[in-house]
Symmetry: C2
Subunit: 654 residues, 2 copies
């Protein structure tokens, strides 16, 4: 018996139903002032005291009756008898009468009778007599009671987020604790037989629980307190008891999971037992199967199981609720305008929230949409934000301007490196990061992808190692081929030792490319467009020619030619884990994983940089580091198999 | 024996000496992933597993051999024998052989032999037989092992601030805890015999400790952990033992205090015992007497005692240090450009950091400088940021453009209300705040000050209650007088009952203005330009005329004519505390403090609004609330003595 969504409601309708039912009344708690930084003040705070609470000296000197100093001159000082001394914090037991003075420290209470303080710099002292060299009018160097803050004045308004400055003001009026908005408590429940908590052993067939952690962090980020009720099996009793516990201890209950419709229906029915279902199914992508209910005035959310879907729905529905309960104003939706780089199709009749990667293009930002993202977790880390495509829209045109809502606090990178994956770049960025706070974004799309990104103005720098079949030259022929003459320069990088990565001891006895054709050898390839793949294909074409067979045939002969790893590291891991016997990659990575390496040839790993980006601060810093002694040493120490040359950092105009 | 600063060093030189001596090596600690939100990752994290770790069904349906489905059509389905079922989290013990299928749930492991999943929507089931209505190519609805994240892939880079998204990615790879940068520990010590901790009873001659709280909050805000070592008396032994304790438990020691030079010298000498003094005296205002030292590689700061000075030096020197130790990039110095509204003089030979209040003027922001601020605590709460005036500059010209560094996260208000103080505005803003997240800034400068601020385009709204002597009309004559015709409108506000605020029982038997002239009566006045003061002066002039004496003479006769309270509330408190016998103010405030009230006349409290601000969202919302039933009721309930009329909210063009 499958439960069909009775109706898909729009995002607005779902929000209306939710906010109509849930009465948001921020609750209040009292916390010590010391712990109040960042909290939201729940009440207006008025001062109960004057600040300063008494007339106070603002200088070191002598408290006097101003009249007594009239007529004092540099060469004809007035002499006053010093009748006492008052330090800060003391209550003076002397009075300043005509002809007398009291020595006084900054911050001390002005003794009775005095109405001015003469700075010590304008006096000299001889035993009990002080000579005053300048006259002072009444009030000089005195901060009078209440002149800073008067008793009864409003100190800080309700709803203010307390920063060090408000904390200081509240301290000045003597508040040792303050009433702030209590952080809303959110019970977080993950459901699924397949889930295992991070840190535990992953049995076969299981996956790690992502949602509880990502949602929990999202609760914290938005001013709430998450309570993890753990993972519930796909079992009605277990889910029921966790929801019941959540409703007891929390203000909001958030479940996620139920990716299969059978489990989804079961969760729906359990939620229904507790209260009123407000929404079951939203016309949105991702996140259609979302359930929203209310029980005893508390909202219960049933989010989808896929992490990206769950977080998107969390962002749209749960975050505004948490923030309102926390007394925080709505998240400033940081938005930027960007263009989509190609035609993007959208779900008809559903609002689509599409994660994108922001890249600086020649005429502003480019929003690269993620495709097929809802099941993928890496989307979460890579996306800069998302675009909202209305229900009525079937597609976005190439170059269409869209508004991108940024996730959290991140911003487009200072330095955009798109191209071939190299661990040398990791070392370079580490040195760079030690020198400057530069946020670099590295997108590994292979050498050719990098050159295209340079051509389109999206990358600042592309790492590339493309061997030209005809000339035997690295990289430069490709720049001409892609029409980058005049638009970009080549910056010489370093030499990497390319070769075969094999298991320790080389059990399959791999000696050369011919061995890849063997029946007992499984290969792991790299993605098309990567320099490594180009190198492979050049050699395979050579062999094909020698043997008089087609390139296609050669490829078919290699077991694993179609298995593509996205990086050198992934190739090494495939070999390490026995998924493949051999892969092509760089020596550095083989050594890192304790694997054997059979060299093929040294290759030139260089950087392509757009000319118009050479003056960019981050690019300049990148080049400085590339040429630096520090980088050379780090490379030597960490990455045997990669070495700089005397040409490293040289700019080659093309 | 006074210690003279041997040399004042520049801000840059002081920073150089500090950062040369202090080796900043962020320390590392391991925290549960759940607690890692907002922390800075200390190491690069690579995935040790494939995500997903196995080939996984992305849909509910049947796992099949794709070849078996070839030829399936809507009206001619293929029949397969169902040999088992696999749910998410299970390890299937069946194999899919030719002609068979296995029922499968989303997220479940693809059983051996199967290479595609047919969605349940394209099947029908009869006992052990499933009918397939559509053919599927290999790979359909399968997410293959490692296709999201491959083992060996870089998950999150060192130095990344962890948001929910990175937390999710780390969870997906099974990290139950992560190594993050340890928060630097800052020992905070306040010194001074005059200090009392907030929350404790304030003895006469003492003041509350502000610095420990404001600095502690500043440490938190910048990613550190403050440890309060409490208040040290002005006693070398006590200070010595607190510094020793601080050096033992913390990474940084921050003292503040020593406002008098004697105490300052003593603190200097105690610090000197622990290590090397790097800086003693900085050419800066405020904060000249700052001491910076290093002991066992740990920095010790001796900050000034005045809160604003202490916080400014904290911001310039300590914050960058804390942030670097915390692995946080330098605070993005949020800056805005603004003009100074008048000529501003600066300290010659010293870098001046001048707190300012930002107000939106007609041609951009206006930065109102605070004067004489270092001793004042209210400066802290009111200032939006500060400007930096170079050593060489003697003054800023009127209208000169300056760069304002904003404090923390605040921004100029959505709504700028400058003018006469009224508790009715507090109620109005409360209603407004319940409706919308509007940040209102209220600057109380009296009615005339408000009209001037409107004239100069700095206020959106000014509250005003100015009685015209000649016509007996409120407010409008003043708008003409200040040339606001065509520039602003008057919006009718409410009626306030003005009168004398006296102690309970009216012990001095105040009946009218004549009583203020009595010898046994002490008055508390309001500031010039306030409507209340105008009202007072009109009556005093009348009396002067009647008696045939000068206005000046009348003023001299009133004890307390020169004592100015900044608000109605402050007037009431002055009466409550016995500082004055009588003040002029509104009934509402008298009632709030349980004081007696002798009515003088009802007055019209109206709002002046610039015409060009009428379309501003926040102003529209303000007017909506002013006319709302909700506001009327709140006013009635909370503020007897203030009442709306049928004209409230009416816009009067002038």
């Amino acid at each position: 018996m499958r439960k069909i969504f009775r109706e898909l409601v729009s995002v607005e309708e779902a929000k209306r139903r939710l906010f109509d039912k849930i009465k948001i009344e921020p609750k209040v708690e009292e916390v010590p002032l010391i712990e109040a930084c960042g909290r939201i003040l729940a009440e207006d705070y008025y001062s109960g005291v004057d600040v300063p609470p008494f007339d106070r000296a603002t200088m070191d000197g002598y408290a006097v009756r101003a009249e007594d100093t009239f007529g004092a001159e540099e060469d004809d000082p007035v002499a006053l008898r010093v009748v006492g001394k008052v330090e800060a914090g003391e209550v003076p037991n002397v009075e300043v009468k005509r002809g007398t003075a009291v020595e006084i420290s900054t911050g001390a209470l002005i003794p009775k009778g005095a109405n001015a303080v003469v700075m010590v710099e304008y006096t000299s002292r001889e035993k009990d007599t002080v000579f005053i060299y300048r006259p002072v009018p009444p009030g000089t160097n005195i901060m009078s009671a209440g002149s800073d803050i008067m008793a009864g004045e409003l100190l800080v308004r309700r709803g203010t987020r307390l920063t060090p400055r408000e904390i200081g003001v509240l301290a000045s009026a003597g508040f040792g604790s303050v009433r702030v908005v209590r952080k809303p408590v959110v019970a977080v429940i993950s459901t699924g037989n397949e889930l295992v908590s991070p840190g535990e052993r992953l049995e076969f067939g299981k996956i790690y629980d992502v949602n509880a952690y990502a949602i929990g962090a999202g609760v914290i980020e938005n001013g709430g307190v998450p309570i993890f009720l753990g993972i519930a099996r796909d079992d009605a009793d277990e889910i029921r008891s966790k929801i019941a516990e959540g409703l007891k201890i929390a203000d909001i209950v958030v479940l996620s999971g139920g990716t299969s419709s059978g489990v989804g229906d079961m969760i729906y029915r359990v939620i229904e037992e507790f209260g009123e279902i407000l929404v079951h199914g939203i016309a949105v992508k991702p996140g259609k199967p979302t359930v929203i209910a209310v029980a005893n005035g508390k909202p219960i959310f049933g989010l989808p199981g896929y992490p990206t879907s769950a977080l998107m729905i969390f962002e749209i529905f749960v975050v505004p609720l948490i923030r309102q309960m926390a007394g925080i104003s709505e998240r400033e939706s940081k938005t930027v305008e960007a263009r989509v780089p190609f035609k993007v199709f959208s779900a008809i009749g559903r609002r689509e929230f599409l994660p994108v990667n922001l890249v600086e293009g020649r005429d502003g930002l480019i929003a690269y949409p993620f495709t097929d993202y809802s099941g993928a977790i890496s989307t979460l880390a890579e996306a800069d934000g998302f675009i909202e495509i209305p229900e009525s829209k079937v597609f976005l045109e190439e170059g269409e301007v869209v508004e991108v809502k940024l996730f959290g606090d991140i911003k487009p990178a200072d330095l955009m490196i798109i191209g071939s994956h190299c661990v040398g770049i990791d070392v370079l960025l580490e040195v760079l990061r030690r020198r400057k706070a530069i946020q670099a974004k590295v997108i590994n799309v292979g050498s050719t992808g990098g050159i295209m990104a340079i051509k389109r103005g999206e990358a600042d720098i592309a790492g590339t190692h493309l061997l030209d079949e005809e000339t035997g030259e690295y990289n430069i022929p490709y720049l001409y081929r892609y029409g980058l003459k005049g638009e970009a320069v080549l910056v010489k990088g370093y030499i990497r030792e390319q070769g075969f990565i094999v298991a320790k001891g080389n059990p399959k006895d791999i000696k050369g490319f011919e061995d890849l054709l063997r029946n007992d050898v499984t290969f792991v390839n790299r993605n098309p467009g990567s320099g490594t793949r180009v190198l492979l294909d050049i050699h395979l074409k050579r062999i094909a020619e020698e043997r008089g067979i087609s390139f296609e045939e050669i490829k078919r002969k290699i077991k694993g030619y179609d298995v593509e790893a996205k990086s050198h590291t992934a190739v090494a891991v495939a070999v390490l884990m026995g998924k493949a016997d051999v892969g092509l990659g760089i020596k550095t990575v083989a050594e890192r994983y304790g694997l054997d390496f059979i060299p093929v040839r040294p290759e030139e790993y260089d950087f392509v940089i757009r000319k118009d980006r050479l003056c960019k601060e981050a690019v300049k810093s990148f080049l400085e580091v590339l040429k630096s002694e520090e980088f050379r040493k780090e490379l030597e120490r960490k990455l045997p198999g990669i070495r700089v040359t005397e040409r490293t950092g040289e700019i080659v105009e093309i």
